[in-house]
């Protein structure tokens, strides 16, 4: 790292930007120039800070003084007091409870919350993501170096498999086994794809990784490339993620300069090139075969499987498709070994999980916690409880393709196995927590609206099923439903689940099934009394189908 006297970090998560963080950055730079401090003080940005109540946050190192909320107009005062005169800018200090125990470290390894444990987000929010030297100074590319100089591809795959890391993109398939299949597949050319499409409603965990620590993805992809025998990788990034795109682009250039990507990585004979490919807006392109079609310049329609991408992926070559969060675990696993990784989480679902929390709770945002904690713990500890006046009624776990569960299920441990046994899907890890004012019919209607819009239309059960079920639920919400509708919904949902070509059509059935299983009485009340018990649905409207 450069030797500078001090460093100013400014939070640039979306909320901070909304509150003027970009202008604040500009003003800070101007103020530094005005005081002739531009060569002594660095400015950098923080991605995720979790301090939603004091945004934008400014942290001044080396002593890690935390200021917030800081308005653009405060910049000059802050620079003058703290950096020019060398004393704390008292008026801007974060409130005392934000400072306790945090001030020296801004959430180092131990998380901000009691049991939080950061592996995936270890660096995000602690370093300047646009400065590769900071990444290196906090263990970046160490695992890649180790792999290339000390390990065989088989050993790498072995550690990843032993770690028990399961895919974090939804399905939970063993990452090590996937790599093994690709390594074993016939072919002179193979590919590594990082799935950074992330368009599952409620999910923004991957964005936090990409914006806060882009190098961890590049490092992991290169490790994957070495393990499976690929010399080329693609990052398929959601078209709307502009900031993440720019940071990745910059990171790729830096990594090439440092010899961590490109030809002869770390001076070995391993070559690895990464392409950054932006999507153009289609939820279904997150599905791995649709994603591959999309890179190939086609409409993102999922392929029929088998054959699977591990043998017939990009340009029909063996390809591993891994989610951002999955990949972000890899370097830490290599550095610390499989046993270490297994010390987090549960025996059948090791490691941590990054969740996004939202809904009628006091804290919305991102947390990383060991696998196996319960939803009740998430709500009470991490989300700081339900909003005043709110009582938990239901939660949706895993984004639109996750499950809708009643409050009664909030004590099921959140790991792949326990959830599977309880008939619940963990999906992408988006936790939408809803209170008594949420109507199940209204919620399911919104979900089906999403699915019917995003269905690619290639296969009938999904194309027609999402449309018909939407219409029925819309009718119920308008007071025109009848009890046979419920059987019809169940039948169509079963057929969508059984016969759809890809996960989109299959999971579109899940909220319907969950609604009928857990909230039947409430739906029946709409039909029988002509009233919405929560008063959300406009029961008296004329039929209006879009």
């Amino acid at each position: 790292m450069k030797t500078k006297r001090a460093m100013i970090l400014v939070s640039t998560d979306p909320e901070s930007i909304r509150l003027g963080a970009n202008e604040l950055l500009e003003n800070l730079k101007e103020a530094l120039d005005a005081y002739g401090l531009q060569d002594e003080v660095d400015i950098a940005t923080l991605a995720d800070t979790e301090r939603s109540n004091i945004l934008p946050v400014v942290v001044v190192y080396p002593e890690a003084t935390i200021y917030g909320p800081v308005k653009p107009g405060d910049a000059r005062y802050l620079v003058e007091e703290h950096l020019y005169k060398g004393r704390i800018a008292e008026d801007l200090l974060a409130p005392p409870k934000e400072l306790t125990g945090q001030i020296g470290s801004l959430r180092a390894n131990k998380g901000y919350n009691p049991a939080e444990q950061r592996i995936v987000l270890e660096r995000a929010g602690r370093i300047d993501p646009e400065n590769i030297e900071e990444t290196i100074a906090s263990n970046g590319y160490e695992a890649l170096g180790k792999v290339l100089t000390d390990m065989t591809p088989e050993q790498v795959i072995d550690i990843v498999e032993k770690s028990g890391l399961q895919g974090r993109g939804g399905a939970g398939f063993s990452a090590g086994r996937k790599w093994k299949f690709v390594r074993a597949a016939q072919g002179d050319k193979k590919y590594v794809i990082c799935n950074a499409d992330e368009s599952e409603p409620g999910t923004f965990k991957d964005r936090i990784v990409l914006e806060g620590d882009p190098h961890v993805i590049l490092e992991a992809m290169a490790i994957a490339g070495y393990a499976v025998g690929a010399d080329e990788g693609y990052i398929y990034i959601r078209g709307e993620y502009g900031l993440a795109y720019r940071r990745l682009q910059h990171a790729i250039e830096q990594a090439q300069e440092f010899g961590f990507l490109g030809k002869n990585v770390f001076g070995t004979d391993f070559n690895f090139h990464v392409h950054l490919h932006a999507g153009a807006g289609a939820y279904v392109c997150g599905e791995e075969t649709a994603l591959i079609e999309s890179i190939e310049g086609k409409r993102g329609e999922p392929r029929a499987r088998p054959p699977y991408p591990v043998t017939h992926g990009l340009w029909k070559k063996p390809t591993t498709v891994n989610n951002v969060e999955t990949l972000a675990n890899i370097p830490a696993i290599i550095r610390n070994d499989a046993e270490w990784y297994r010390s987090f989480g549960t025996p059948s679902s090791p490691g941590t999980k990054v969740y996004t929390i939202m809904g009628n709770v006091n804290f919305s945002g991102v947390i990383e916690v060991p696998m196996g904690i319960t939803l009740r713990e998430v709500i009470n500890i991490y989300a700081k409880g339900m909003k005043p006046g709110s009582v938990m009624k239901l939660a949706q776990t895993g984004g639109s393709s996750g499950s809708v569960i009643p409050a009664a299920l909030q004590d099921v441990p959140m790991d792949f196995e326990s959830f599977r046994k309880a008939g619940v899907s963990l999906g992408s890890g988006a936790l939408l927590i809803c209170d008594q004012n949420t109507c199940i019919v209204d919620l399911v209607k919104v979900l089906l609206q999403f699915f019917r819009f995003e269905s690619c239309g290639k296969c009938t059960p999904c194309r027609i099923g999402t449309q018909r079920t939407y219409e029925i639920v819309e009718r119920i919400s308008q007071g025109h439903g009848n009890l046979e509708d419920l059987d019809k919904l169940a039948d169509i949902a079963a057929e969508m689940e059984r016969a759809s070509n890809c996960g989109l059509g299959q999971t579109a059935a899940v909220p319907i099934r969950d609604m009928l299983k857990h909230f039947r009485t409430e739906v029946e009340a709409h039909i029988q009394t002509g009233n919405c018990p929560t008063g959300v649905c406009e029961m008296t409207r004329d039929i209006e189908l879009a």
């Binding site: 078209g239 932006a278 153009a280 190939e296 993102g300 999403f450």
Partner: protein, 165 residues
């Protein structure tokens, strides 16, 4: 984008997009995205021009007009229709919905007198719904062009709209 773009401009935009992304199949969508960004949509002239510049069986690079239309119609960020000077995207997914999204949507349609996908007669505004844009922790969420607005309330809508010329 009020008037149909002039031919020379289209040619220039397409040329630049292709110089930046290349002519291989995996460049097709990035090229179309680039054109959409520059012109606000992908006009028919641009599709013809892309085909003209890319399709070359001798070099084994292929692009049919029908294929290009197929792409533009499939992806939400691409459009064959000109849009207003400013595009308002409203997130209609569940996380934004349960924290008050519906009231915002009703207010937007009311204020602008638009339905989903429509453009005002003066070509100032286009209103569209969008799927989650990953800002769910500050829902309800609006995007006006590239500006993000979170925790939007009905009262703020006139203020937000007023910022745009």
């Amino acid at each position: 984008m009020v008037a149909s773009p002039v031919e020379s401009e289209v040619k220039e935009v397409v040329q630049q997009a292709i110089e930046k992304h290349g002519k291989s199949p995996d460049a097709l969508i990035p090229v179309l995205s680039e054109i959409n960004r520059a012109l606000g949509y992908v006009p028919a002239e641009a599709i013809r021009e892309v085909k003209r510049q890319i399709h070359n069986p001798a070099e084994r690079t292929f692009a049919a007009e029908s294929q290009l239309y197929g792409l533009v119609s499939f992806y939400d960020m691409l459009s064959t229709q000109p849009r207003g000077r400013h595009v308002i995207k409203f997130c209609e997914n569940a996380p934004c919905h349960v924290v008050g999204g519906k009231a915002i949507w009703d207010a937007l349609r009311e204020t602008l007198q638009l339905k989903n996908g429509e453009t005002t007669p003066d070509k100032k505004w286009t209103l569209v719904t969008t799927s989650c844009i990953g800002l769910c922790s500050v829902g309800p969420v609006l995007l006006v062009d590239d500006d993000m607005y979170g925790n939007v309330t009905v009262e703020q809508i006139p203020d937000i709209l007023e910022r745009y010329e």
